[in-house]
Subunit: 248 residues, 2 copies
């Protein structure tokens, strides 16, 4: 299918996984190596692009690397304008026949900046072909690090941000495994909720999974609360497992 | 962290992604190349191991490849016995100082045979160190192929098998994106439900995503119902997107 060969004038949103350079897919690595232009988003609060750090060994000296700084604001106009600027740059490069790869931590379809960029690129240059390469999302690495099975058989898994505790409480009743992203600030409230629901023992917490020198894993939510939480905090709640059905 | 170097006597459950050889992670490829023994599960109804097909170019002539056939029965005793047999073989190899990799389609933690194998290995040989390498799960590739954003901001995503339509109906109300696995046989019922809920337009369907020569993508559930469904069918229901919040 040759999905690992870049085409001139095409745009690629490429997931690079949670941060470790060996958690890229072979396809992602191939496309990054071949691209004329690599766009690396970096939030204003970060001193470096985590995505760029993960792929630094793949970057060629003759590649154009665009360091794109964005603010993590929930202001739709500001966000649109910010991503529109980089979308225009990408559209120019693509129209000049260059291949452009945007690298992004995790998976481009799961809580990623690629969503905003692709929206704006479609608006600016609907003629530019867009391709997506999936990446390992943090929850997958957290599950792997804890040897924590997420789903078998009839299990339901829910993934959501840990912002609204009422929603989290409802979700506890509608799935067997609940994964919470952006959980750092909410850990104390979450610990309270789990205690009230008799679910304290079912939580695993990770900060900065698969980021060299920063990864912290906690088997207990109380330990995680006591630690200094990172922004990139993931919680896996393994609520219950249904009995295996014995019918074929 | 050297998570890409095999250790003698250790066991690795390695996800190889949905089927395309370039959707393995670099870590998965490294471990498979180095392992003394590669265990490739294959369901009784399949004429070859999809996982083995995805990694065939990585296999060395001097590697031991164990083709493990399992029945897709929901009979707990039968399943345990079947996986216990291969767990014993793996325990023997590990105790002899060999490194063993089990390859599995998708991600070992998401509806994977690795769950059963790891259970039995723990029972047979609790001393054998177990490591997991995450893999791209089919839903991620389906989203990529459709350029379908799964989650932004406050969105909730639910992943479940399409077996119980009452549960599917409830899930429609508790998430913004619903992903259904094992949806082949249930497509007609699902089409009915979506029609009743006025959600017919929000479905994308894929059979055998990223499997060379077999991938089918349907923008409409009615087209998918009319086609011959495959067992490996994934449905993405993009139910609604909340408005972006304008507070910081």
């Amino acid at each position: 299918m040759n999905r690992n060969i870049v085409k001139p004038g095409n745009f690629y949103a490429v997931g690079v996984g949670p941060g470790s350079p060996d958690l890229l897919t072979l396809r992602a690595a191939d496309l990054i190596r071949q691209a004329d232009v690599v766009v690396a988003p970096r939030s204003r609060i970060a001193d470096e692009s985590l995505a760029l750090k993960a792929v630094q060994d793949l970057i060629r000296p003759d590649q154009e690397v665009i360091d794109h700084v964005y603010a993590m604001k929930r202001d739709i106009e500001h966000t649109r304008q910010n991503w529109n600027e980089i979308a225009k740059v990408i559209a120019d490069r693509c129209h000049a026949g260059h291949s452009v790869v945007q690298i992004t931590i995790g998976d481009p379809m799961i809580y990623s900046t690629s969503a905003y960029l692709m929206d704006e690129l479609k608006r600016e240059a609907p003629d530019v072909p867009v391709h997506i390469v999936p990446g390992i999302s943090a929850f997958q690495s957290v599950a792997s690090q804890f040897n924590q099975i997420l789903t078998i058989q009839e299990d339901r898994m829910m993934l959501m941000p840990a912002t609204d505790m009422d929603r989290v409480e409802r979700a506890l009743k509608e799935c067997e495994t609940l994964i919470l992203y952006k959980a750092g600030k909410m850990l104390p409230k979450l610990a309270e909720l789990l205690s009230a629901e008799n679910l304290t023992d079912c939580a695993k917490v990770a900060f900065y999974v698969e980021q060299e020198g920063r990864e912290c894993l906690f088997d207990s939510i109380d330990e995680a609360v006591a630690a200094t939480p990172g922004y990139m905090a993931t919680v896996i709640l393994h609520i219950n497992r249904e009995e295996w059905k014995t019918v074929e």
